[in-house]
Subunit: 287 residues, 4 copies
């Protein structure tokens, strides 16, 4: 039996793909409501993380931040003390490397194996089983999880030991956040200089200076419709983890911090729940 | 007869493509030395911009910055007062929109037509005739220059009236400079977190968060060899023009300015003449 | 006869102090309305800068920016061609050093003497005759203007040749703008951490980390009343001149540019006409 | 008996003032060497924090960062489990508010009282007993510690409950770090524009735009001698705590982060152990 805790935008789609592939899956989520569609498809329900832990050999978690992971793992009715010896915990949450290593230590103390396996890709790739897993852990653990990850994703990139999957995830989200902000500045500048917005967006997307993922943000920017795929407040939170990890590594990131504070100001002006591409709307405001 | 003034890295390759296509070309450059390879291929030489102006119907300029353009156009022995009525000046230099419009006014006063036509693409595309022309001017002017631009480039994007080609060029260079800096921060962070440099570069280049042009910077970053295609000091100069134009347009660009000052610090630490990807080397310095 | 052109917040108060000291003053301003109080006190009116120029030996200008200075000096009915040989033009406007030197050159060509003499101090010091003059020019010119500057100010600091007064003025406004922004961030952080706003402001103002001028911003910040002494948009404009001058000098200023873009965003959100201390209000917004 | 743990630049001077005032003091430090001068003046030595805890009613700690505090309090041979019921722990270290509150909770669980009391002032004020204590805790705790704090400082500012002393300390260090960087940029700009360095420094220090503490940095900047009073790497570490606390409070600080990354770059270029005013030297480098 596979366990899955955390059924938000990402987790619900990932667990659905496991079910579809024919796996037995037991799920838990803070609010049971979000589990209902999965239960209808045959998933089993556990009332608490602890209860779930006792019945699975491998457990996936997909949660919002380190605090949420820690609470579910080690808080009241947490799963960590209830997992069987030599079972495997795969944390797919976006956290920071020091936290992944801390969780690895806590697991190891209890003779449980641990792997950090955050994913690249958001809502649509999660739905289509096209995520990319960025993995930190041992070869043995990767092999055990490989069939499940193949059900949920299209690629598995083994980056190294504990924390290395998480490290690569932060690198990617750094790139994502800065590139989104750069594109927003470029379009905003173009409009300010009198260019046609659609022309600017088109010229940039067709040229070599613009990352492919921005094609997916095109309509949001042209229509000023920022319904969330990846909420702005999550991106800003990830940048804070980048900041902390970069500090610990002795690496300076001037643009990442300019981006972080700009997303932060956007949050203060009400864009928290919008897609992170709403940074464009914040930057091009004229009152 | 076509005139061409400014035979640097870009201009020499552009003029060579005109010659190859069979056009009669008269050239001028501050130092005659750089013109020699073109003269051997059949180009004619003019001692001064003024002398050249009297003998051509259409004149292309490709110079380092607004000051250089102004000097060649309106300084001693400048071409502008010597051009024939209804002749066409096409300025391919990277300048700022207000300057392009100023030149358009100066030309118009003298009954000369003007078009701003800066290019996207650096050394290699210039050589291969694969530049993209970003054009600001009238339909008639675009049509007259079209065959020449086709000889030097692979696409012509007409953005609007005077200054609009230049505007789009600044938008593209903004994107280029920020994306290069973002990539440098991402690789630097990855290394700081203990990831393998080659793995980080590879993972990013194969993912959707990374602009295609960075493939061309891969070896520079992996080998720490920053021989210039687009010198860092030119990128920083372009960012200063972005800054001035954005100010005039009432547009704030927090990341662009963080980038500008980071390139500026790199300049202070000796990277002026290196390729602008040397920003990676500056950012990842550990003494 | 002394000439005075530019009767805004600063200029009107400066000219009034000259009158009070018993000098004959001839004034001009774009709108005559603002001159009325001075005319009542005995000033004479000139319809144009040109008309004024013919009747004075020394001419003071106090205008909003380089463009305004250039228009009044060299535009239609400008004063520069009408000034008598060996007369003295003292420009008190806040401009950038390259512009001051350009004006010095234009004056010298016409056998007119030039001095840049921008002032430190805003509305209240202007009223009380307590400005500090930052002067770039020759000893002889300083001596001729000294009695007037003493009537309008409390100190004269001769910084060097043409452009050096303006250079020091930019240095001071850089300091002013960053310190105001730093104080705003500090108060905003304190409030965010749950400290009492008045306590934070008091503790900072009584400690060694806080510049004396901030005492004068205390009530604005405590009362959230940002009636202008020095409008935010002027500060942002000065920072753009700082940016351009620093670029020309090869000096990188990461905080100054972060400040410039933050004031710029505040402008976009409607704070242009408020005092520049309104940057606090922008930064502490929570929607 | 008073306990004192942490005898670095600050702690050694603070403990010396307690001894001078006639108090019985028992000290501990990671390396005993640094305790020798105090032992000669009559202080007693404890081999471990735990051993010390059992013999004092009130315990002061002055350590480098949260990790050091946590290790000494709760690591092997930590003091927290060994302190008597109702005894008082006063933490003078610069940490972040969430950490102070965490320590308060850990203390409270063990029926020990806690007060955060970081200080404003560095080496010289510590020596002269002129520190300012920024205090978070109960009235009763403040009263018990008041005589000691009076021996070590000149003022006690009670900011509120647990964490509020620490909060104010971060606010002050934010102000300090940005103001130092702003001054460095101003001097660097002045020199770049051709002004005399001494004149720039003098003009700024005599004007209202410059914080009093900068008088104490004057000679360092004029002589390019950056022997440490407050090491640059500590300031950068404090800015990281500011960053984390501001994030938790939902407050954006664009300049503070530009400062943090600039200090960070200076660290990468070898200025870690210099005084934090060495940011001037980094910024004005020209290679």
């Amino acid at each position: 039996m596979i366990g899955f805790i955390g059924l938000g935008i990402m987790g619900s789609r990932m667990a659905a793909n496991l079910l579809e592939e024919g796996y037995d899956v037991m799920v838990h989520n803070r609010s049971k409501e979000k589990a209902e569609p999965l239960l209808e498809k045959g998933a089993q329900w556990a009332e608490t993380p602890k209860e779930l832990a006792a019945q699975v050999d491998i457990l996936y978690t997909m949660l919002a931040n380190p605090q949420a992971v820690e609470a579910v793992a080690m808080g009241e009715n947490g799963f960590l003390d209830a997992m069987g010896a030599d079972s495997l915990w795969v944390d797919c949450s976006t956290v920071h490397p020091a936290f992944s290593r801390l969780m690895a230590d806590e697991a190891t103390k209890r003779k449980i194996r641990f792997m950090d396996a955050p994913v690249a890709g958001s809502k649509i790739p999660a739905e289509r089983g096209e995520l990319v897993f960025l993995v930190g852990g041992s070869e043995r653990d990767v092999e055990q999880a490989r069939p499940h990850m193949n059900a949920m994703g299209k690629a598995i990139q083994h980056q190294g030991g504990h924390g290395m999957g998480t490290s690569m995830k932060l690198v990617i989200n750094l790139m994502l956040s800065e590139t989104m902000a750069a594109f927003s500045e470029a379009v905003s500048l173009g409009e300010g200089l009198g260019l046609d917005k659609e022309k600017v967006v088109g010229t940039l997307l067709n040229g070599p200076t613009t990352a492919p993922f921005l094609e997916g943000k095109k309509e949001k920017i042209l229509q000023n419709d920022f319904s969330p795929e990846f909420p702005l407040e999550h991106m800003q939170k990830d940048l804070q983890m980048v900041s902390q990890s970069a500090f610990e590594a002795g690496v300076s990131l001037p643009l990442a911090h300019a981006a972080k504070e700009t997303y932060g100001l956007a949050k203060q002006f009400g864009y928290s729940k919008d897609d992170f591409s709403a940074i464009y709307h914040f930057l091009s405001t004229k009152k």
